[in-house]
């Protein structure tokens, strides 16, 4: 083999090795994306339209917060109309998958209570969505890069945006996403948050599909357009699918009809515990009352009956609290994960130091 051939072979080998180490596709600032942003081997959903990659980076973690997830990769994309930035997508996700999930505290807990949906929350997985108004002054390195990108093109960006925040995690991965929208196209403040929240609750499952690389079909409309169209898109699809199944003969006409009626009862639900109902108060009060009446019946003494009922109630409460505490302690030990939830800096976080970028 001649020297030039050897050199060529070495270059090819190096390129092949380098190719193997790099992600399959890494977006660069200035590139445009539609529908899905691939990041750290996951699919991140984007509302319909052309999105411009404006910043890419990683967020470093405090020493004690780091788990074996490598780094947290960040991406910032923008959507514009003329010279105005109309939407910003901010994504954070882990580079390396874990095997035993992420430890508490759960990031959904900090979200504003008025517009929040805890889709599910178990030992191993969680998904929540919330909506708030945010100021986009500070932020992570990817956002600093995006600000430079926006400034270099003389585009305008409102400092206050309407933000839909999504968190989804499972045993292996997490995605923390925030979609910021220019409030100019929305109606008044309350209506705007309500419209965005209604849209966000329908968009949230897309992140779960993306985490599993199962995003298919056309991208979702953005919140403004979605608010114009049907407010029951999932139900509409379900009715159509049932009708098609009946047309194919897969289900009977009677089943199609009853399932169409049943489909109307499906609603997005929060995994949070319901507030104590009237029934709950009834059961809480009825036991001491029954004890009091029984004690009075036996002793025929009101002070003695009250004392017995109170003693029983206090003892019962104490035993219940002790049992609950030991159960919580036991389950807490059993379900502790080795990887803490990463400390993330979001757009608008002015009080947190920015980590390194790459």
């Amino acid at each position: 083999m001649r020297l030039t051939d050897k050199c060529l072979a070495a270059v090819v080998l190096l390129l092949a090795l380098a190719g193997g180490m790099l992600p399959a596709w890494a977006a660069e600032p200035g590139e445009t994306v539609q529908g899905i942003l691939p990041l750290a081997d996951k699919q991140l959903p984007l509302p319909r339209g052309e999105w411009i990659v404006a910043g890419m980076g990683v967020q470093t973690q405090p020493q004690d917060a780091a788990g074996p997830f490598g780094v947290v990769r960040s991406a910032v994309l923008i959507q514009r109309s003329g010279d105005r930035v109309t939407a910003i997508a901010e994504f954070n996700t882990n580079e390396i998958a874990l095997s035993d999930g992420w430890d508490a505290p759960h990031p959904c807990d900090a979200a504003a209570a008025d517009f929040r949906l805890d889709r599910y929350h178990s030992r191993l997985d969680a998904a929540c969505v919330s909506v708030a108004t945010s100021h986009i002054a500070g932020g992570p390195p990817a956002w600093q890069q995006a600000l430079g990108f926006i400034a270099s093109r003389h585009w305008q960006c409102d400092e206050t945006m309407l933000t839909a925040a999504f968190v989804v995690s499972d045993r292996q991965d997490f995605v923390d996403a925030r979609l910021h929208f220019d409030p100019a196209g929305f109606p008044g403040q309350d209506d705007a948050q309500r419209i965005l929240f209604a849209w966000a609750t329908r968009f949230a499952p897309e992140f779960e599909k993306g985490l599993a690389n199962q995003l298919t079909g056309p991208p979702f409309d953005g919140p403004l357009r979605a608010a114009l169209l049907s407010d029951t898109p999932t139900l509409d699809s379900r009715l159509l699918e049932l009708e098609a199944l009946q047309g194919d003969g897969a289900i009977s006409a009677a089943d199609a009809l009853s399932q169409q009626q049943a489909a109307q009862n499906e609603r997005p639900r929060s995994a949070e515990p319901e507030p104590v109902s009237v029934d709950g108060w009834y059961y809480r009060l009825s036991t001491p009352l029954i004890n009091l009446v029984t004690a009075y019946g036996v002793t025929q003494s009101a002070p003695l009956a009250v004392a017995i009922a109170l003693t029983e109630h206090v003892a019962h409460t104490f035993v219940y609290a002790a049992t609950q505490a030991s159960w919580d302690r036991a389950t807490g030990q059993a379900t502790r994960h080795t990887s803490a939830w990463p400390v993330l800096i979001h757009i608008g976080d002015t009080d947190k130091p920015a980590g390194a970028t790459s």
């Binding site: 105005r84 509409d236 009809l257 109307q264």
Partner: protein, 327 residues
């Protein structure tokens, strides 16, 4: 089971009696763009609004099947006369609505029928009661809260039902609010004064525009396009809709009647024991989810759909009518 009739009819082969006699299928001329013939596979005659209800009700009793698509409910008298003439039960089913929505390329401001009337009409009432040429050029001239930008409005194509909604619903209502006392008593003159549009560059007709989105982008932020549901669905980049009288347009607000720039679309038919099966065979495909649902054919042709619960209820209730008639 109620509703089964309709669902079975949806997928059943044509009933033998459909082929036996020619049904009378009528569609109001400005609803012909819904193209019901492509849904039912049968010919629907296009008839003017003025003639349609008369033709439907005056049909010879030998005509076994009558269905019509209309944009107005029958009056009580028409309903009584029509049902008595047909030897059956007259059914008037709301299947959706046609609507006009004001879209912009991003600006958001509140509209009322009165503002649109003052922006669009050729002659406006002067303080002395005379009607003079409308020379308002900027939105800010109409109201201080509106954008300081030239008035540029794209209207629906002439002859479309959306064009009629602009005239009969928006302009007429705005005119009544603005110039009520000054209007002539003669309804025809009143209508002419209220709905004759200006012809300067403030107003453009949609006929030969490539797309509404392109037109809006070329006209600046405060330009608005009055569009129907078909255009809205065909152009995914349209996303900012202006509220009318404080109600933001949406399929939901159109369906529940809060958004008023809309006209209903009714399916008229007469159901008797003899015609129940035939009518079900034609009405079934027309009322299917794949036709009147938001993802169906008719919304893409301009029909604003009913709410999901109402669509299911419609199929169930009409199915019950067919079932009862056949029993």
């Amino acid at each position: 089971m109620a509703g089964l009739w309709l669902i079975v009819a949806l997928f059943a082969p044509a009933w033998p009696c459909v082929a036996a006699a020619q049904p009378m299928l009528l569609v109001q001329d400005d609803l012909a763009d819904l193209r019901p013939n492509e849904v039912t596979g049968q010919t629907w005659a296009t008839t003017s609004r003025a003639d349609l209800q008369g033709q439907f009700c005056a049909a010879r009793s030998g005509t076994p099947t009558r269905l019509a698509l209309v944009s107005h409910a029958l009056s009580r008298r028409q309903r009584d006369d029509c049902a008595a003439a047909k030897d059956g039960k007259l059914v008037e089913a709301l299947i959706g609505r046609r609507a006009v929505i004001a879209m912009t390329s991003g600006a958001n401001f509140a509209l009322t029928p009165e503002l649109l009337y003052r922006a669009l009409v050729r002659d406006v009432a002067a303080p002395d009661g005379e009607f003079i040429a409308n020379r308002v050029a900027r939105w800010r001239d109409l109201d201080a809260s509106l954008p300081d930008a030239p008035i540029r409005i794209l209207l629906p194509p002439s002859g479309s039902i959306e064009s009629r909604i602009v005239s009969d619903v928006i302009l007429y209502e705005g005119c009544a609010v603005r110039a009520g006392a000054m209007l002539p008593a003669d309804p025809l003159k009143r209508m002419a004064i209220c709905t004759t549009l200006r012809t300067d560059n403030a107003v453009t007709h949609a006929a030969d525009r490539p797309t509404v989105t392109a037109w809006l982008r070329g006209q600046g932020n405060a330009a608005l396009a009055l569009v129907g549901v078909a255009v809205l669905l065909a152009e995914p980049d349209l996303e900012t809709a202006l509220p009318l009288d404080g109600v933001t347009p949406s399929f939901a607000s159109i369906a529940d009647g809060r958004y008023r720039a809309a006209l209903p679309v009714y399916l008229l038919t007469v159901i008797s024991p003899e015609t129940a099966r035939t009518v079900a065979g034609i009405a079934g495909p027309l009322l299917a989810e794949a036709t009147i649902g938001p993802l169906g054919k008719l919304p893409r042709r301009g029909l604003a759909p009913l709410a999901a619960a109402d669509r299911v209820k419609l199929r169930v209730s009409l199915g019950r009518e067919f079932e009862n008639a056949a029993d």
